[in-house]
Symmetry: C2
Subunit: 212 residues, 2 copies
């Protein structure tokens, strides 16, 4: 059965990930139910916004009781597609790649870091968090064997497109790009850009405005 594709604004998706984090924390604290108002207070997001976001996907709340924490957590995980246990490969095990390989949230959210890749002979064969670093030259066969869904690009900017081309050739479904380079990819490949300097320069902009 083909599910209908829902068009969701990027900002809504971002808030869903924030709700998911909050529900994980509440679940860890063994909270059973939470009202929209309580959730709004924790997250500093307007209750109307939370109601509107969640109503896009169905009716999760119980009148007078609020949301069942575990139930809502699972629902959001399903909306975000987290039940797929996507398999990640990180390409480029420099500082950033190593930090991502060690970033517990990625696995907490159900993603599997299945392989690491580099071209540095001193790194190949080593492990981070029990995951082996392979020679990027062998990406295509290893990626197919390890059923990689998502390639994480953490290489220098000028190598980004050539790495992406290899990922695409290997048949990944998505690319998480940590370089400042824009990636050319066919339309059926999802590319998400993680532009750290955008965040820092926004910070600079607002501080500069405040100080004028």
């Amino acid at each position: 059965m083909k599910k209908e594709k829902i068009k969701i604004p990027k900002a809504t998706l971002e808030r869903l990930s924030i709700y998911y984090t909050a529900l994980q924390n509440l679940d860890n604290e063994e909270v059973i139910t939470i009202s929209t108002l309580e959730l709004a207070k924790i997250l500093k997001i307007k209750p109307e916004q939370i109601r509107k976001d969640l109503s896009m996907f169905g009716n999760f709340g119980m009148k007078g009781v609020g949301y069942d924490v575990i139930h809502l957590k699972i629902q959001i995980a399903n909306i975000l597609g987290l039940q797929n246990y996507w398999r990640l490969a990180i390409i480029g095990v420099g500082n950033l790649g190593a930090a991502l390989a060690n970033y517990e949230k990625i696995t907490d959210w159900g993603f599997v870091i299945a392989a690491l890749f580099d071209i540095d002979e001193n790194k190949i064969g080593e492990e981070i968090n029990g995951v082996r670093i392979y020679d990027f030259e062998k990406f295509v066969p290893i990626s197919r064997r390890k059923l990689i869904d998502i390639g994480v690009i953490a290489v220098p900017d000028d190598a980004a497109q050539s790495v992406a081309d290899t990922l695409i050739k290997a048949g990944v479904s998505g690319i998480w790009n940590f370089t400042a380079a824009k990636i050319d990819a066919p339309k059926d490949i999802v590319v998400v850009e993680e532009n750290l300097m955008a965040g820092l320069s926004a910070l600079s902009f607002y501080i500069n405005q405040n100080s004028n």
Copy 2:
């Protein structure tokens, strides 16, 4: 003289940082001028969008010639407030904090990584990239002596607010928060959240949609 505060959408600010990256690369390649159409092609952003974004801040282009690369680069740096050479302290020298301390783009863009902080005795006194790791217990006096403008929070989520409280007490102007915790701060302190899991879960969402 008080400058007028310009209200700029977050997406525009993000594109300005993308233009800045492209102009840096063009300048490195010794390109002197570039037309809107060429810039649009490199960045895969519509030329109308680029014209609209840049026209918010004045008239930078020369009819029939395009933009002077260095001039436009400096103009955007000024808009983004990069000429302030903001001084950063990174709090939490785990994998992510160390990756940020080694992230060359931060210094390429004119930010100064002035100090690192941790509570781990084995790390205190060590250096990354020539920058010393100090005891976070001494943050307030060291931050004031080193004129820290921006605190980068790269600690576990449950320590984020207490770290933020110390940064605020020390008088920082901005906080770059890499935790999933929401930071409570007075209105005059700029807080930018870097929510990595939002990017990864957006990727998961779109791949899931494609595969249905």
